[in-house]
């Protein structure tokens, strides 16, 4: 049984947030869900800075990242995380309303782990979120803890 690490949900749209939380709730995932409302806050959580400076250490099981975000947008968060030696193993699932192919291409170039276009139909949406939650939070085996080189 893997340890229960939180799911980081980065979503600015309150309706999408509510729908996503409802969907996650319905599939009875026990993991904590941490919500960040923009890219900057998400980075604060990942880097234990700002309002998240005092949080329990440890990386999230998965980051569900909306593509269009205020301040720092989803692609920028993705790029920063995937370029960071210490964070690149954190799975990131890009969630988007857009069906623009260029976003998909760009995301994969930056090393996204999955890309999901939110379905309009609620049952499909529900199922998509559920699948994501179950897969990444429960089934996915995270990489072994990285030992800090030169650490104590």
């Amino acid at each position: 049984m893997p340890e229960m690490r939180p799911i980081l949900l980065v979503e600015d749209n309150p309706r999408d947030l509510e729908l996503t939380l409802t969907a996650l709730e319905k599939c009875q995932i026990a993991n904590d869900i941490v919500v960040a409302r923009d890219g900057a806050e998400a980075l604060d959580f990942l880097y234990l800075s700002g309002s998240h400076a005092a949080r329990d250490p440890g990386d999230p099981a998965v980051v569900l990242l909306d593509l269009k975000l205020p301040k720092v947008d989803g692609l920028e968060v993705l790029e920063k995380v995937k370029r960071d030696e210490n964070l690149r193993h954190v799975p990131i699932v890009m969630l988007t309303s857009s069906r623009e192919e260029q976003d998909l291409v760009k995301s994969y170039e930056l090393g996204v782990n999955a890309f999901v276009v939110k379905p309009v139909e609620f049952n499909q949406f529900f199922k998509a979120i559920q699948d994501l939650g179950v897969f990444w939070a429960l089934l996915n085996e995270p990489p072994p803890k990285l030992r800090l080189v030169g650490g104590n």
């Binding site: 729908l19 309303s97 609620f122």
Partner: protein, 751 residues
């Protein structure tokens, strides 16, 4: 007396084949005598150091009117010593000097003398000639009448003839003629009046070498020359001051200047002992000469010479106005033709095709027999144009001559390019304009040969040599030759019209290029806007639909006690939003199709159809559908897009057979000459063939939306995909019986 004998010679191209550039005078065709002729042409005739004996001359210092030179015959002509005569005219000369004008004339009495003075090269030259009384009233009456005649006479030939008659009458010479220069300075006698003492030279031609360039130059500067007696003995000048070399006195503007011994010999050979010529200056250029001759010595006083000059300059004005009127009329006519050509060019996208659509006007513009419009990859001949190979050869030669050669004009292409034997046909005149250097496009007009017979006053090819020195020819017998290898010359107005046309074409081409660039920029901008638009549709419009669907669904699940009607309303809200969301997705896919790059792989159509059918299995599960799927040949294209085609077609077939108890769907294919025709037929609701053409349009629905769902984009999408693959779509249908959709795809390349 038989003076003129006719001999014939055929003037063929090889005889005179020498390379010559336009704008340079024709090299004379006499061979083996160039250095002699050059020597003749270099003779310094303006500083002979002597005068003719029918007058006398003084050269004065302008500062103090001191005598520097005096002619040896001074006292003989004037009856006075220089000092005596100067004393009586000194006041008049000083008054003239004060005005600053170039020349001065006066009539002196006791002795009766005509005095003419001018300043040149820091000296005053004063000439004296004995004068005789003139009946001024009668002369004035005659001149006024002539001036009126010049404006009233319709034909230039009549004006020329009238001039020679008047001059002959005024001067008493045996013969007066008008001698006109051609562009190469050969002379042509175009009018004549005479008393029969001398042979007629009318219509004879004289080679340019007869009047060398420096003589022509003097003719332009000093219009009147008189030689009363070709057998005269030149009168030398005596130096009074320190200057000793009489050859330093420039006699360009004197009337008494002693002439070249060669010219005197020429006169004697011609059988004329006296001559006078007056230059016909038209618009500042030497147009011709009014030439008078007598068999014997003959003198004309300076008054009469002045009167003759007036007559000749009146004629010159008449010639000038005729030529301006002719050029203007031709210009107007050509401008009309130009406008017609512009109109034709405006009708097409390509200027060259536009021009070719008005062949008559294009020829008329330069009065050519043929024209060729050519660029690197096209050749449009009009009229009697030479073969493409010939035209390209000439244009290639011009291109080699450098970028400056974007205009070329000749009336004898074979003479211009003698080493090119491409022009063996009748083409002689070429007028070529480069339209664009980048595309190497040219507009080239052609004129056919005009064979003409020219009668020369003596054989122009014969040079008389005696004792190692060139002599003027002795024979003035008419000598005829046939001139070959030349077209009619290009008129300056025609050349100007051709240049104007080029300017218009360049402007049109440039304007079009600018328009295209602007359109391309606009298009890029609108494409960017469209992309931004489709992005925002995709993102911003999709989200609210999803929210509506999601929350309606949550509400339905949460409120178990909702009434039937409330539930129905919620379902309607959900369905509507869902449909709108699908519409957004379809629109985006459709708009992407325009710009997305297609992959071109071998596609297994059987596999695609299987996948699509499995995807629709859920929908079809509750129904009774009889499938008949043949083995389908593979296609080349984008598998994802072709799957979309099959998906939409099969989905439609399943959808529109919904009302059948037993649906029949057949999928088959035929190989055709060009490729493969895929077919899907059903026994569904069908459609009215009247609407067949609308079927594949965007948002065209033939069924009521409450009967069959769909956004109306599916078939438009199919059409777009198939057409982007180089194929086509079609459909047949019968209402309530079924429909058959087909799409063709090009053949696979042979493996």
């Amino acid at each position: 007396m038989v003076f003129i004998t006719l001999r014939w010679s055929v003037y063929t191209i090889p005889n005179i084949a020498r390379f010559r550039r336009i704008g340079v005078g024709r090299g004379d065709s006499m061979s083996g005598s160039r250095s002699d002729l050059d020597a003749c042409a270099r003779e310094p005739i303006h500083v002979p150091g002597a005068i003719q004996p029918h007058g006398s001359l003084l050269v004065l210092d302008p500062a103090d009117l001191a005598v520097l030179w005096v002619s040896a015959n001074f006292e003989e002509i004037t009856g006075r010593t220089p000092v005596e005569l100067l004393r009586s005219v000194e006041a008049a000369l000083r008054a003239w000097r004060a005005t600053g004008t170039h020349s001065y004339r006066a009539r002196l009495q006791n002795p009766d003398l005509d005095m003419a003075a001018h300043v040149h090269q820091g000296r005053i030259v004063v000439e004296f000639e004995r004068s005789t009384p003139v009946f001024h009233n009668a002369l004035l009456f005659r001149l006024t009448g002539f001036a009126q005649q010049m404006t009233a006479t319709e034909e230039l030939a009549d004006a020329l003839s009238a001039t020679t008659h008047l001059i002959a009458e005024l001067t008493g010479f045996d013969r007066a003629l008008v001698y006109r220069f051609d562009p190469e300075w050969n002379g042509h006698v175009v009018a004549e009046a005479g008393n029969g003492m001398l042979p007629s030279y009318l219509d004879l031609r004289f080679p340019a070498a007869d009047i060398p360039a420096q003589a022509r130059n003097l003719y332009s500067l000093n219009r009147i020359r008189l030689i009363p007696d070709a057998n005269y003995t030149p009168v030398s000048l005596t130096a009074i001051g320190e200057e000793q070399d009489a050859g330093s006195i420039d006699m360009t503007f004197t009337q008494l200047r002693s002439v070249s011994p060669i010219h005197l010999e020429y006169m004697r050979n011609m059988g004329t002992l006296s001559s006078m010529s007056i230059s016909v200056m038209v618009d500042g250029k030497l147009w011709g000469l009014l030439s008078c001759h007598s068999r014997n010595a003959h003198h004309v006083t300076s008054d009469i010479r002045e009167a003759c000059d007036f007559v000749v300059q009146s004629l010159a004005m008449r010639i000038s106005s005729d030529s301006r009127a002719e050029t203007a009329a031709l210009g107007i006519e050509l401008a009309r033709v130009h406008t017609r050509l512009l109109a034709e060019m405006a009708k097409t996208d390509k200027w060259d095709e536009g021009l070719a659509r008005a062949p008559a006007a294009l020829l008329e513009l330069t009065r050519a027999d043929g024209v060729a419009i050519l660029s690197q990859d096209s050749f449009l001949p009009v009229g009697q144009a030479p073969e493409e190979r010939q035209v390209r050869r000439v244009v290639g030669r011009l291109s080699q001559q450098g970028a400056a050669t974007d205009f070329y004009c000749t009336d004898s292409i074979a003479l211009e390019l003698p080493e090119d034997d491409v022009f063996t046909d009748a083409t002689c005149g070429v007028l070529a304009l480069r339209i664009s250097e980048v595309q190497d496009s040219w507009l080239v007009w052609f004129r056919q040969e005009v064979v003409k017979t020219v009668t020369w006053g003596g054989d122009p090819h014969k040079v008389v040599r005696e004792s190692g020195r060139i002599h003027p020819r002795k024979s003035f017998e008419a000598w005829r030759e046939m001139v070959r290898g030349r077209s009619a010359p290009w008129h300056p107005a025609e050349v100007a019209a051709a240049r104007d046309l080029r300017a218009s074409i360049v402007e049109i081409v440039l304007k079009k290029a600018e328009q295209m660039a602007r359109l391309a920029a606009d298009l890029q901008k609108s494409n960017r806007e469209l992309e931004a638009f489709s992005y925002s549709i995709s993102h911003d419009l999709r989200a609210p639909f999803r929210h509506i669907v999601g929350f309606s669904q949550l509400l339905t699940e949460r409120e178990k006690n909702l009434g039937e009607r409330s539930r129905h309303y919620l379902q309607m809200i959900s369905d509507s939003a869902l449909a709108a969301g699908e519409l957004v997705d379809d629109l985006l896919t459709f708009s992407h199709l325009g710009r997305a790059a297609l992959s071109a792989d071998k596609v297994d159509m059987n596999k695609l159809v299987d996948e699509v059918r499995r995807g629709l299995a859920e929908e079809a599960a509750s129904r009774s559908i009889v499938w008949q799927v043949d083995d389908l040949p593979p296609a080349t294209g984008d598998a994802t897009l072709l799957r979309q085609v099959w998906y939409n077609l099969i989905d439609n077939a399943v959808k529109y057979t919904r009302l059948r108890e037993e649906a029949h769907i057949e999928i088959s294919a035929d190989r055709t000459d060009d490729g493969v025709l895929y077919r899907i037929a059903d026994n569904g609701v069908g459609f009215d063939m009247a609407y067949r053409s609308k079927l594949f349009g965007v948002f065209q629905r033939l069924q009521r939306s409450e009967d069959f769902e769909g956004t109306g984009i599916g078939l438009a999408l199919i059409k777009r995909i198939v057409e982007r693959h180089g194929g086509s779509v079609d459909a047949m249908g019968t209402i309530d019986e079924g429909a058959c959709f087909t799409f063709s795809l090009p053949a696979l390349p042979e493996e």
